[in-house]
């Protein structure tokens, strides 16, 4: 392994600009003559708009335009889309209501977009918005899913009379019912997976620009996938054809899913830029982020696990209601269906599984993918059930898992997925050692002496990443293919630019992708630069989410590098007057087999462009190759996290005493960056388990709409993490990568809750396990113990 090649903990190339304040985020971009947009948002969760009077506002200082749903309709700008078709059990298509970028006749959640004011300054736009008079007829709102499906509930979209978007299912009901009929033991759980706000530290932002001379648009925006944004804005929303629309996603300050989607604000900014003849800038303030960034999770589930007399799992039944909010966001329909139920087998050999999912409209902010997207919800169901089943049957939870793990690969689950490779017991055994499981009893006794309750919680998670084989997702309803593209451009002096359709918003692609190139071409890492985030530079791309940039994005680069090396061999063969078959490429040198005649990579690059040594008709000049990579399977990162907590029964305060993570991500390019991804994921998962939760009041007002009210994890809420790895290389891509971006967020919540419930003598506790929730559960546990 070289110091900068695959497997090395190379320090990040992108860091210099970030630590010196020279990053270029969207809000740092200012276009000459730019005006500012301010969105007037609905204060009501559900209302008819009877009229909008903008006369006074139009006359206010600095106002350039005030645009409403009527204007966007008149210009025939299409509505926002949901790109994944889900069919209900009865075969009918999901019932999706229209989603205009500016409300047309009705608002459906607090924060819905009523009008936009465009003015010389942001202060003027904001001031003028207060002069807009909207006559609302307030309608009853519904925020609770059970209320939403009741007869007589307020109807949010006419197309979906019972507020149900789909009743979907997966698996074999008859087989699962049969397993339960024969079961020796059945474990049942009711689970709420709390709603979260992604809260990337950089708020969303957009700058729309229009160049009348070429009739072309440019949109700078906080996007994880600028090409997908361009595709949707062009082909579906109809802003401009793709060759007249450039989307630039510069440095992006975190995404976690929330910046995948194509929202109203960027659509309006780019459309309005032409309308007002000025660049238009919008940057969310944090309150707007809370109201308008797609939220995550929000499931209510009943789940049952069937065991035979030997403690083997024989069946699983799951019934979930998924809150989709007031409109279907870009990929929302897929999250509680195909990103959720196919993971319900966990790491276990479960012969029969049946899952039903109802997707439900409520008068709340739309819900879509948030770090893990469906897989954390599935893991929470499986790992809570398994833990409780082990306790109910009096089996050590580690032993229970070991008994039920999948042991041979490939393994076909009853819910679509074919696990390719893994070694689940190895990860668990390593984690048990690292966590000093043997010493637990002693530590529990020590805590008890101090009046504290100590508990341990396991989470053996699996996820499907490397999203995704195009044909497979196409057959499941996706509107796009999920390949990735790359182009490797070699310059005449042998330096290299790699253009990738992946997008880095914290993942460190400028480093890891360069490590791959340095490793394969045998050139210094400083001679490689990675270009991403601009649709005019990078030909095509599907972006970054679902832990796909390594497994899919780097595979595309790998394939393009193959082509560069193959072309280099041809060039070298001419220059060294040898046959192409006799040329070897190793350690940055093209050499004639069995001789000491060779040319280094830079010389071959130069010869490729000088082209004196070969006839351009036989061999094209130049050294530049592109490739698309379409995966043949999902990848299956898996691992075991162990959380150990100490609970104070008097105050309900939970302290995480130690955290052990053992993950199998397949081959690792940069362990420092991978561990960083694990740390961050755990941080968000612990946030969900202990601190974070969205709360709406019954009128649909978002009560947790600022960092004062929504509890984000801070440094003193979180522990240090002890991170280890096992490795079974992924067989379906050339690098053997599985992906690591979401693991921590998927693994952490059940580990924490399993630990707290262990401390509380198995008393259940809801997420977030705030001191109040834990204290209540502790009191119940104490009362139960007293009654025994």
């Amino acid at each position: 392994m070289s110091a900068t090649g695959i497997g090395a903990a190379v320090r990040r190339k992108e860091d210099l600009r970030f630590i010196t304040g020279r990053g270029q985020y969207t809000d740092d971009i200012n276009r000459p003559g730019q005006a500012y947009a301010y969105f007037l948002r609905s204060p009501h969760a559900h209302a008819e708009i009877k009229s909008i009077d903008t006369r006074d506002a139009r006359a206010a200082d600095g106002v350039l335009a005030i645009l409403t749903g009527d204007d966007i309709a008149a210009d025939k700008v299409g509505g926002l889309i949901c790109g994944w078709m889900i069919h209900s059990k009865d075969g009918s298509a999901m019932k999706a209501g229209a989603h205009p970028a500016l409300a047309q006749g009705k608002v459906r959640y607090v924060g819905d977009h009523v009008a936009v004011v465009i003015a010389e300054t942001l202060a003027q736009a904001r001031d003028a918005s207060e002069k807009i008079k909207v006559d609302y007829k307030v309608l009853p709102a519904v925020v609770d899913m059970n209320d939403a499906v009741k007869k007589g509930a307020p109807v949010i979209h006419e197309v979906s009379g019972n507020n149900t978007v789909y009743n979907w299912h997966l698996g074999d009901k008859a087989a699962a019912d049969a397993a339960f009929a024969k079961a020796k033991h059945v474990t049942k759980l009711d689970i709420v997976n709390n709603r979260l706000v992604p809260n990337a530290m950089e708020p969303r932002a957009a700058v729309g620009d229009y160049e009348p001379g070429t009739e072309s648009f440019t949109l700078y925006t906080t996007s994880q996938n600028p090409h997908v944004a361009r595709l949707v804005l062009s082909a579906f929303i109809g802003i401009a054809p793709e060759h007249k629309l450039r989307v630039i996603a510069p440095d992006v300050g975190g995404g976690f899913g929330s910046k995948i989607f194509i929202y109203a604000e960027e659509t309006v900014c780019v459309w309005a830029a032409k309308k007002v003849g000025r660049p238009v800038k919008w940057t969310a303030d944090r309150s707007e982020s809370f109201l308008s960034d797609a939220h995550g999770r929000d499931h209510v589930t009943h789940a049952e696990l069937a065991l035979d007399e030997g403690g083997k799992i024989t069946g699983l039944r799951v019934n979930t209601k998924a809150n989709l909010g007031a409109y279907l966001s870009t990929f929302s329909s897929s999250v509680p269906t195909y990103l959720y139920a196919p993971l319900l087998s966990g790491q276990y050999d479960i012969p029969a599984i049946y899952a039903e999912v109802d997707g439900i409209y409520t008068n709340t902010t739309p819900v879509d993918a948030y770090r893990g997207a469906g897989r954390p919800e599935a893991t929470f169901v499986v790992e809570r059930l398994v833990e409780v089943a082990a306790r109910e049957t009096g089996v050590d939870p580690a032993q229970f898992r070991l008994k039920n793990f999948v042991r041979s690969f490939p393994h076909q689950t009853p819910v679509i997925m074919a696990y390719d490779t893994g070694n689940y017991q190895a990860a668990l055994e390593k984690a048990l050692k690292m966590a000093d499981y043997r010493g637990l009893a002693r530590r529990k006794a020590l805590s008890a002496r101090a009046g504290k309750l100590r508990g341990i919680g396991f989470s053996a998670y699996i996820e499907a990443c490397g999203i995704a084989p195009s044909a497979a997702v196409g057959s499941l309803g996706a509107g796009v293919g999920l390949w990735e593209s790359a182009e490797v451009r070699v310059n005449p002096i042998g330096t290299v630019e790699v253009l990738t359709g992946s997008h880095s918003h914290g993942q460190g692609h400028e480093t890891t992708f360069a490590q791959l190139v340095s490793d394969r071409l045998g050139i210094p890492i400083d001679n490689v630069s990675i270009v991403h985030g601009d649709t005019d530079k990078v030909q095509m791309g599907m972006g970054t989410y679902g832990s796909r940039s390594g497994a899919v994005g780097m595979s595309a680069i790998f394939k393009a590098l193959d082509k560069v090396i193959a072309k280099g061999k041809k060039v070298a063969a001419y220059c060294l007057e040898a046959s192409e078959n006799d040329i070897d490429f190793k350690d940055g040198k093209f050499s004639v087999k069995g001789t000491d005649r060779n040319l280094d990579f830079g010389s071959v690059a130069l010869q490729a462009y000088i082209a004196h040594k070969f006839n351009g008709q036989d061999l094209e000049p130049g050294l530049k190759e592109g490739a698309f990579w379409d995966p043949t399977n999902f990848t299956f990162p898996a691992g075991v996290h162990i959380c150990e907590v100490e609970v104070d029964p008097e105050t309900g305060i939970t302290r995480i005493d130690r955290w052990t993570a053992v993950d199998d991500f397949g081959r690792v390019i940069n362990p420092m960056i991978v561990e960083g991804q694990v740390h961050g994921g755990i941080g968000q998962g612990v946030g969900q388990a202990l601190l974070e939760g969205v709360h709406y009041n019954k009128d649909g007002q978002l009560v947790t709409a600022s960092f004062n009210d929504y509890c984000m994890p801070r440094a003193d809420d979180l522990p240090s993490y002890n991170v280890g790895m096992t490795q079974t290389p992924c067989p379906s891509n050339p690098l053997g990568i599985k992906g690591c971006g979401e693991a921590g967020a998927i693994a952490a919540p059940p580990a924490v809750i399993n630990a707290i419930t262990d401390a509380l003598g198995h008393e259940d506790v809801p997420m977030p396990a705030t001191p109040l929730n834990v204290w209540r559960a502790a009191q119940k546990a104490v009362a139960k113990k007293a009654a025994e």
Binding site: R17, D28, N199, M201, G254, R286, Q507, G683, S706, A715
Partner: protein, 156 residues
């Protein structure tokens, strides 16, 4: 519009500003020093931390006009003579940043912690002192390591 003058990163600057202009807006919009970020509207996140007269403050929470004559250092002014500050080096060396959005505020806060608490910092102190700075990417583990390492390096 009233006029305000101050020293920013060693340079004298003055401008006429709307009375409601916050320091962070003055830095970002008037001076185009965009390294100082805005992550919230409730003084909670610390993305905007700069030093005013040697002390860390949240620049989203102070009006530019109140800082007449002040000496302001932003992240852009931390490296001296082309040499990174030890805390900047420590953040890079310990992989204490991912998206980089919280990083300028984190580094400015961290330097302030060392100024107040000295060069030997235990984990608990660091975690407690970082309370006013949110990071959504790193889970803080490597930030805590970086602050400890940077604190030691600052003693040299």
């Amino acid at each position: 519009m009233p006029k305000v003058s101050m020293t920013v990163n060693g340079k004298a600057v003055s401008a006429n500003v709307d009375a409601r202009t916050l320091l962070v807006q003055f830095l970002r919009e008037d001076l185009r020093l965009t390294g100082t970020h805005v992550g919230c509207d409730t003084s909670q996140c610390g993305c905007c931390v700069v030093h005013v007269d040697g002390k860390a403050i949240k620049s989203c929470t102070v009006l530019a006009l109140t800082l007449e004559g002040a000496n302001v250092t932003t992240i852009e002014g931390l490296a001296q003579d082309g040499k990174l500050h030890p805390m900047q080096e420590a953040f890079r060396e310990n992989h204490a940043l991912q998206c980089g959005f919280c990083t300028p505020g984190m580094i400015m806060t961290s330097v302030d912690i060392v100024n107040r608490k000295g060069n030997t910092l235990d984990e608990q102190t660091i975690r407690h002192e970082l309370e006013g700075n949110l990071c959504r990417c790193t889970g803080y583990h490597n930030i805590v390591k970086a602050v400890a390492a940077g604190a030691e390096a600052m003693a040299k």
